[in-house]
């Protein structure tokens, strides 16, 4: 069972469905195995696995150009690696996409010691990409807010999935 206060994979899937997502372009991160099992068993979702996070950006742009509604699922480490692809293939081409980004190293308690967490929000602010933090099911409506903002602005919007209360690995 998911931990109390966790963000459950079922909630994430429900948000995808509610917002009409057709394709998930993704690279596994350390927290998403149960989500993967749910997504891969859903006949209405196509999974496009990539070998480097930056590849997800141009694939997503192509899917959108052809009329699909893709979503990106990666970890913050890969997002940092993907900066120029985000700039060129998403922001520069007005691609309205939500990127669900695993927030490795994030904690609301004590001191953040993982450098990728230290730089994650700074990276997003430098790129002027709006973002929302989601830690548990009660925050899940922020995912729909992100979809609406992406549609309205025709730009990518990031949802950071706080790691601390994750319910993805049962």
């Amino acid at each position: 069972m998911a931990e109390a206060n966790s963000l459950s994979p079922e909630t994430v899937i429900a948000q995808m469905k509610a917002n009409g997502v057709t394709d998930i372009v993704w690279l596994p991160d350390s927290e998403t195995n149960f989500l993967y099992l749910l997504m891969s068993s859903d006949p209405d979702l196509r999974l496009v696995g990539v070998t480097r996070e930056g590849h997800a950006m141009s694939i997503t742009a192509g899917l959108f150009a052809g009329g699909r509604k893709p979503m990106i699922l990666i970890q913050n480490t890969g997002m940092l690696e993907s900066g120029d692809s985000i700039r060129g293939w998403l922001m520069g081409m007005d691609i309205p996409v939500v990127m669900l980004v695993g927030y490795r190293g994030y904690t609301r308690h004590g001191v953040i010691t993982d450098t990728v967490a230290h730089y994650t929000e700074r990276f997003l602010m430098a790129f002027d990409i709006p973002f929302y933090l989601v830690e548990n099911d009660a925050d899940a409506d922020r995912i729909s807010i992100a979809f609406k903002q992406a549609e309205k602005t025709r730009k990518p919007v990031v949802v950071l999935v706080g790691d601390e209360f994750h319910g993805f690995n049962r």
């Binding site: 394709d23 372009v25 196509r46 496009v48 696995g49 990539v50 070998t51 480097r52 930056g54 590849h55 997800a56 950006m57 141009s58 694939i59 997503t60 742009a61 192509g62 899917l63 959108f64 150009a65 052809g66 009329g67 699909r68 893709p70 120029d84 692809s85 700039r87 060129g88 293939w89 520069g92 081409m93 007005d94 691609i95």
Partner: protein
Amino acid sequence: MMHTSDLVAAIAKHRGDAIVISGRGGRHWIQHSDTALDLPLGDPAMGGHAGFGLGLALAQPKKRVILFDSEGDILMSLGQLPTIAEQAPANFYHFVLDNEVYATTGGQPVPGSKVIDYAGIAKSSGYPRAMNFADLDALTDALPGIFAAPGPVFVSCKVYPEVENTPINQRVRWRKRSAAQVVSDLRGALGVA
């Protein structure tokens, strides 16, 4: 070696109603066609054209998608090849213009350019069909067969480099539309806007 202008002219004869991502052949392709189904994206971020082609081919399975990629792009994102092979879009025709140099930065050699077998890499990555061509006659003869069979197919072609060595902001702009406009035009033409 072949001239890129001759290569795109040969492929234009087989285009039909395909969507064409003109990529590294863009300045020549625009001489043949510049409709909403022609996508001169410029260089949004090097290495990503193959991924864009994959996404578009998956989204529009009833339309052929032709891409003019380059060997420099391929080497930047080799990991896209197994992703394309796994998704196996039957409508994807992936041409690679291999000029052995980074032409837009002055013609510096691409690492390994004299020894790499690009079709071999594609085939090992899972493309069901992959081939190399060094001259235009052989490519021209093969094109009917290339387009007669389903993709994904990977076709690497040796082309003469067209080296540019002026600062980017001083170059003549041949594109008439921004990349965002190109995408918007395509979506309108496909009825998915």
